[in-house]
């Protein structure tokens, strides 16, 4: 059913008329078979987004379903009044810090996995895969205990650490797959020219990894930006809240002001949707390249 429409419909070979005829009839997917289900699904995807935007920009008391006239009143309420301006900064700090930590640590480990043969390599790899089954939600209690001991409760660092640890395994495996796809000969040529191993990595490997780093970094950022439970449990001071926690408290009060809820939602959505718009095309290609597949 797939890929067939791109193939030119060549004239049937005279000696095999029957299969050729069936092929011509069977392979074409007509336009409405694509556009009808796609259109329905798009409706399901986009109506909720549209609903949020309309409620965010329309004036108080209006019941219009068109986002016009536009008012910024709700955004002012959430940004200044409800503290989303501060939450936004907190989320951004945690997101960028986990992005950097995850990428750097995963890069080092991924390079070791891809380029070295060492004792315990397979065990390390299996351990990384096993962590995918560790439930983040169920680690709340022990992690809270650890952060309390380290006096990191109410510190954004607790979130950076928790995010990084949970993002690391998959990022590391992805990056090692990408590094493995870069021919070793390129690095060897640099060594012959007198580069140190580290310098060869910086000059030769790193530039080629840029798309992979964009993908892994974006994953880390999006996950961190979206995380709710860790932020809810480890940070109890309002000036340290992140966006999802702020948003959750707005939902608790939605009967009071749903314009603010919608505006808060837009504030929460814009960064990740922008990041996603940039990486989504690359996402499918990267996964296709075989980095995650069995």
């Amino acid at each position: 059913m797939t890929l067939t429409t791109t193939r030119p419909t060549t004239a049937p070979a005279p000696d095999r008329p029957a299969p050729a005829r069936r092929r011509r009839h069977g392979q074409r997917v007509s336009r409405w078979q694509i556009y009808l289900p796609l259109g329905l699904y798009l409706l399901f995807t986009l109506v909720p987004f549209y609903w949020m935007v309309v409620f965010a920009v329309r004036p108080r008391g209006s019941s219009s379903l068109l986002p016009w006239p536009v008012t910024m009143e709700n955004f002012q309420t959430v940004w200044d009044g409800l503290g989303f301006g501060i939450f936004f900064q907190n989320s951004l700090k945690v997101g960028v810090a986990s992005l950097i930590a995850t990428t750097v640590i995963a890069l080092a480990g991924g390079y070791a996995l891809a380029r070295y043969d060492f004792r315990g390599r397979t065990a390390f790899l299996v351990a990384m895969l096993c962590t995918q089954f560790i439930p983040g939600a169920m680690m709340l209690i022990p992690l809270f205990e650890i952060f309390r001991t380290l006096e990191l409760v109410n510190s954004l660092w607790s979130l950076v650490i928790a995010e990084t640890v949970f993002q690391l395994p998959l990022s590391l495996i992805l990056l090692s797959g990408f590094i493995r796809n870069i021919p070793l000969e390129l690095e060897e040529a640099a060594w012959v020219d007198g580069c140190s191993r580290f310098r060869a990595f910086l000059v030769v490997v790193l530039p080629l990894l840029r798309p992979a780093l964009v993908a892994v970094g974006s994953f880390a950022f999006i996950h961190s930006w979206n995380n709710f439970l860790f932020a809810l449990m480890f940070v109890l001071q309002q000036d340290k809240y992140t966006i999802p926690v702020g948003l959750a408290f707005t939902i608790g009060e939605f009967s009071v002001d749903y314009g603010a809820l919608a505006a808060g939602g837009v504030v929460a959505a814009v960064p990740v949707v922008l990041v996603f718009a940039v990486i989504q095309r690359y996402l499918v290609q990267g996964l296709s390249a075989g980095a995650v597949k069995g």
Partner: protein, 305 residues
């Protein structure tokens, strides 16, 4: 994500065995995971055998299997939440897989506006559970939601509140989670669809296979491992996913939509009974591991067909 995939196939002539460099390179990752994944996991097992309640420190101490006994015999909410978790995971994963596969097949076709359509239908993947709740609360609310505008048109009565009604709350939560869950399958399966060699379809067509037969005999076998892996990852993820239900229904009405992790989170956050929470966590972890292994065995993951 097979192990073999990551192990380099070719010779490793530059890699000296016995060098310390690789250990230095993996050290940060190993230390981070030992400190913040392995140690906490071990401490969960330890606390599950302890009485440990921040509110009742005088009772703290070794508990033996008390917590587990209480869980299995004296806590109907444990069984109820476990049952609901199973129902939630099964329904979500099945529907997400079917819709995601359909969506992947559609956007794998060639048509005008494909790149744009892909970007749009995949976009809820990046949205958080809390934001999903925020959006769907607006859609479900009787005064701001779709139902009000449908009622204005005379299509239904006023005052429908799907989240407050015990009969509709499950469906309402499932739909909201589907909205952001389907793109995960669509993205993964599309990536795998693109690796199917065209010759296979050519050969099948030449042999006179209809489109449905080609789907069953070429597409599905090729997607098998991707489907097994994505359903497993998603099942684990849905099992552990707390954000949406915590904010959308709060586990209610009357604990009807409380999953096991949600129950754990509530136990930890509200009653501060960490010992009992750890026992619940241990139970959840065992259940999850058992079913994951069972699933991989039964589905013969990685077996060549």
């Amino acid at each position: 994500m097979a192990v073999a995939e990551v192990i380099p196939r070719r010779r490793r002539r530059s890699r000296r065995r016995g060098s310390t460099t690789p250990y230095l390179l993996i050290a940060p990752a190993v230390l981070a995971m030992l400190g913040f994944l392995v140690y906490p996991m071990a401490s969960v097992f330890y606390y599950s055998l302890q009485h440990y309640n921040v509110n009742k420190p005088w009772d703290n101490g070794f508990a033996g299997l008390d917590n587990f006994q209480r869980m299995l015999t004296a806590d109907p909410l444990f069984w109820q939440s476990l049952g609901f978790t199973a129902k939630w995971v099964l329904v979500e994963v099945t529907l997400q897989l079917l819709l995601g596969l359909g969506l992947a097949l559609i956007v794998n076709e060639t048509f005008v506006g494909r790149a744009f359509a892909r970007a749009l239908v995949f976009s809820p993947w990046a949205v958080s559970g809390v934001l999903t709740t925020g959006i769907w609360v607006l859609l479900y609310n009787p005064t701001t939601g779709l139902s009000r505008y449908l009622a204005d048109l005379g299509l239904m009565g006023y005052g429908a509140a799907p989240l407050a009604n015990p009969d509709t709350v499950f469906g309402a939560a499932v739909l909201a989670e589907l909205w952001r869950g389907v793109p995960f399958f669509a993205i993964l399966l599309l990536a795998d669809l693109q690796t199917i060699p065209r010759d296979l379809y050519e050969a099948a067509s030449v042999d006179g296979a209809s489109r449905i037969r080609r789907f069953v005999h070429v597409t599905l076998p090729h997607l098998k491992d991707a489907i097994i892996l994505s359903t497993l990852l998603r099942a684990v993820w849905e099992f552990n996913n707390v954000d949406l239900l915590y904010t959308l229904t709060g586990g209610g009405p009357a604990h009807q939509t409380t999953t096991l992790p949600l129950y754990v989170a509530a136990t930890a956050a509200q009653s501060h009974d960490f010992g009992y929470g750890a026992a619940l966590t241990t139970a959840g972890f065992l259940v999850l591991t058992f079913f994951s292994v069972l699933y991989l065995r039964l589905s013969r993951f990685g077996a060549r067909t």
